[in-house]
Amino acid sequence: MAICETAQAAPYRPASADVVLETLPAGTATLRTLRQNQIVASSGKSVELDEAMLIARRYIELGQTQSDPRYYGYAEAALQPWWSQPGPAGLRVMRARILQFRHQFLAALAELEPALQTDQFNGDAWLLFAVIEQVQGNVSAARVACLKVIPIAVPLVGSTCVASVGAMSGKSEKSAALLQSALQQATAAPASTRIWAWTTLGEIQARRGLNNEAEAAFKQALAITPDDVYALAAYSDLLLQTQRATEVISLLATHRQADALLLRLAIAAMLSHDAEAGALRDALAQRFTEARERGDEAHLREQARFTLELDHDAATALTLAQKNWKVQHEAADAELLLAAALAAQQPQAAQPVLDWLKSTGIEDVRAAELVKRLDVGVKP
C-alpha cells in the first residue's frame, strides 16, 4: 500500500478512460442502501424519530467497523431534526457516542446524565459513561458506572469494565486475575468483547512489567481479529518498549491507515533506520497538518508523541502533552507528559501527573521509571 503522495502533485488529466482513480471502501454497498432508505423516509411528510434512529444506528455501526469518521457525520445528519432537542434516552446515547468519537467528552457526558436519569438500566449509556470517565482519569466515577453495567450486560463486559478501572487504582493483580477467569468462562462472548478483554488484560500486564504475559494476551486478541486497531497499537507499544522495533514494522506493514498505527510504524522505522522512515514521518506530519487546518483537536496524544519521539522537539512536545493532559488522563497520557517533561528538562511540568499517580495509586512500571529519572535529574 503506497503512502500518500500529496500536496505538491499538480492536478492532472488521466491518460485514458480506464485509469482507476479511486477504490470505494468496503461499506459502500450498505451505505447506498442506507442512503436510499433515508431518501425514501424523508420523501414523505416527515421522518419519524424511530426511523431516523434506526438509520443513524446503522451508520454508527458502519463507522465503528470501518473506523471512518464520515459515517458518524452521516449519522448526525440523519438525526439532524432532533440534534438539539432533548429526546428519549436512546437518542441521547447515540448523540453521546458521536460526540465521544470526536473527543468532545464533556458534551457527551452532558447527554448521558439525563439519559441515565430517565433510563437507569441503559447498558450502552453506563458503559459509554464509564469509558469517558476513565479516559478523563475519574477513576471512582468510572468504577460506579462499571458496577451499574455488571447486572445488565453479558458478564465479560462488566468484568472488563471493572478490571480496567481497578488497574487504575492500585489493584492490578486482582484485576488481571478477574479478567483471566472471566475470559476462561466467556468463550461464547461476542468476538469484539473478547478482543477488548484480551487487550485490556495485555495492557494491565504490560504496566505491571510482565512483558511475556502481556504479549500472550495481545496475541490472543489479534488471533480473534488480526486487524483490530486498538490491540495492534497496544502490542506495538510493548514491542517498542522492549527494543523490538523491527517486529513492529512487520506487524503493521499492512495496517498503516489509522493514525495511531502509522505513528507506531514511523517510530519503529526510525529506530531501526528503515529506508521508509522519512516518508512515514512526512505522511504523518501531513495528516496532523490536515487535522489542524480543519480545526480538529482529537489527535493531541498522537501529535505530542510524534513531536517528542520523531521530531525530538521536546519543548513543543511538552506543550502538546500538557494540552492533552487537560483533556485525557490515562496511563498513556501520564507517561507521555512525564517523558516530555524529562526531555525538556522541566521536571516541575510533570507535577500534575505526579499528583495524579499518587492519588490514583495506579501501578505502571514505565511511569515509575520516568518518575525515577525525573527525580535523579532534579536532585544534583
Binding site: C4, T6, A7, A9, A10, P11, Y12, R13, P14, S16, A17, D18, V19, V20, L21, T23, L24, P25, T28, R35, R57, I60, Q64, T65, Q66, S67, P69, R70, Y72, G73, Y74, E76, A77, M94, Q100, R102, H103, G123, D124, L127, L128, V131, A153, V157, T160, S192, T193, I195, V229, Q257, A258, A260, A283, Q286, R287, E293, G295, D296, A298, H299
Partner: protein, 384 residues
C-alpha cells in the same frame, strides 16, 4: 436476554473502537479544498475546488458499473452534472454584488486520503473586489462534519478560513487586510534596516557609551545613579529619532532631496566624529545636539533605503510610518542591550579604557574607512 441484547445493540459491535475514538480513524473526515485568487486591479477571480471522489459518489453515484471503483471513464462524462451540483453550493460576491461562476475544467488530484475531483473555475465580478463574501454549503446536509477549507490569495497576501455548518458565510476585507500586512511588512523592513545598517548602530553606540559616565574637570567619573544615565540616553535617542523622522519624511515625500553619495559620506563622517568625541571629548553635556544634527543626515539615509524597497503610491504614508516604527523598534532593542551592560561595567578600568577609549578608536577607524570609500567611491572592505 433479548431485552439485554437490544439495549447493548449499539456500542458493543466493536467495543475497542470506543476507546480510541477519532485516533483510530482509517480515513480522515470529509474536507474539500477551495482556493480563490484575486489579482489586484482585475475583475475576475480564478478558482480551484478539490472535492473527494468518495463524497461526490455519495450524491451522484459516480461508480456507474458498481464495481466499487471509479475510473476516469466514469468520471469525465459526468463533468456537467458534477459542476451543476457543486456550484449550487458556492456563492461568491464582491462588495455586495454577486460574481457569477463559470466552470472551466475538470481534472483530478491525489490528496492524503484519496483522489479528488479538481474543478477549475472563474468568477466574474463587476469591479475589482475590495471585499469578498463567500457562501459555502456543500455536503453540510449529508455530513455536518464536512468542512470546506478555503485559501484566498489576493496579490501577495493569502488568508485561510474553514467553512462549517455554523459558519457557512465568511467575509474577507481585501483592502484592510492588505494595508495591515503592508504596515507589518514595513515595520519589519525598518527593524532589519537598522540592524543591518552598521553605520547607524555604531553612531548610536558611540553616543551611548559615555552616557553612564559624567565628565568632571577633564576626567570621567561613574554616573552615581541609573536615573542620570537614563536621562542622558533618553535625550540622545529622542533627538536622534525626531531628527531622522523629520528628514526621512521630507525626503520620501519629495520635499528635499540630497545626492546619496553625499548623504552616505556624511553618515560615515558622523560616526567618526561621535567616536572620536569619546576619546578626546569636546561635547559632553549636550550629546543630544550631535544626535540631533547628524540624525538629520541619517534620516536621508533611511529614506534612500525605503525608496529602494519600492514605495506603493497609494500607501505612502502608511509605509513611511511603518518603516519609521520599525527603525525605532530596532533602535530601542540596541539601547536596551547596550545601556544596562554599560551601566554595570561603568566603574571598571576595562570599561573606561577598553570599551570607551579603545572601542571608540576602533569604531572611528572603521568609519574612517567607510568615509574614504564613500567619498572616493572605492571599495576598501570588498569582501565584507
Amino acid at each position: 436476554m433479548r431485552f439485554l441484547l437490544h439495549r447493548f445493540g449499539l456500542l458493543l459491535i466493536v467495543a475497542s473502537a470506543l476507546l480510541f475514538g477519532a485516533n483510530a480513524q482509517a480515513h480522515k473526515p470529509s474536507d474539500s479544498y477551495l482556493s480563490l485568487h484575486a489579482e489586484s486591479g482585475q475583475n475576475d477571480l480564478q478558482g480551484q475546488w478539490d472535492i473527494a471522489l468518495r463524497d461526490l459518489d455519495l450524491v451522484l453515484t459516480l461508480d456507474t458499473n458498481a464495481d466499487n471503483s471509479i475510473t476516469w471513464g466514469e468520471l469525465s462524462p459526468r463533468e456537467k452534472e458534477i459542476e451543476t451540483y457543486v456550484f449550487a453550493y458556492l456563492q461568491i460576491s464582491a462588495d455586495e454584488v454577486a460574481c457569477p461562476i463559470t466552470p472551466t475544467e475538470l481534472l483530478v488530484d491525489t490528496h492524503s486520503d484519496g483522489t479528488y475531483a479538481v474543478l477549475k473555475f472563474s468568477a466574474h465580478c463587476v469591479a475589482p473586489p475590495k471585499s469578498l463574501s463567500v457562501h459555502y454549503g456543500l455536503l453540510f446536509d449529508l455530513d455536518p462534519s464536512h468542512r470546506g477549507l478555503l485559501n484566498l490569495s489576493a496579490g501577495a497576501i493569502t488568508q485561510s478560513a474553514v467553512f462549517a455548518p455554523d459558519q457557512a458565510e465568511i467575509k474577507f476585507d481585501l483592502a484592510a487586510s492588505s494595508l495591515w500586512r503592508q504596515l507589518l511588512q514595513y515595520i519589519v523592513e525598518g527593524i532589519w534596516h537598522i540592524w543591518l545598517g552598521f553605520d547607524h548602530i555604531l553612531f548610536l553606540i558611540s553616543l551611548l557609551l559615555p552616557a553612564v559616565l559624567i565628565r568632571e574637570r577633564g576626567r570621567w567619573i561613574a554616573a552615581p545613579r541609573l536615573g542620570a544615565a537614563v536621562g542622558h540616553v533618553i535625550g540622545v535617542v529622542t533627538a536622534f529619532t525626531v531628527a531622522h523622522s523629520l528628514t526621512l519624511s521630507l525626503a520620501v515625500l519629495g520635499v528635499i532631496s540630497l545626492p546619496s553619495r553625499l548623504v552616505e559620506s556624511l553618515i560615515a563622517f558622523s560616526v567618526v566624529l561621535a567616536a572620536l568625541n569619546n576619546v578626546w571629548p569636546l561635547v559632553t553635556r549636550r550629546a543630544w545636539l550631535i544626535a540631533f544634527f547628524f540624525g538629520l543626515i541619517h534620516g536621508f539615509g533611511f529614506a534612500s533605503a525605503l525608496n529602494d524597497l519600492g514605495l506603493p503610491k497609494q500607501a505612502l504614508a502608511l509605509s513611511l510610518f511603518g518603516f519609521n516604527v520599525g527603525v525605532e523598534i530596532g533602535q530601542l532593542a540596541i539601547v536596551s542591550v547596550v545601556v544596562p551592560l554599560a551601566f554595570l561595567l561603568r566603574r571598571t578600568g576595562f570599561y573606561r579604557r577598553g570599551v570607551l577609549v579603545a572601542g571608540s578608536l576602533l569604531i572611528a577607524l572603521v568609519a574612517l574607512g567607510w568615509l574614504i570609500e564613500r567619498v572616493f567611491n572605492i571599495s576598501l572592505y570588498a569582501q565584507i
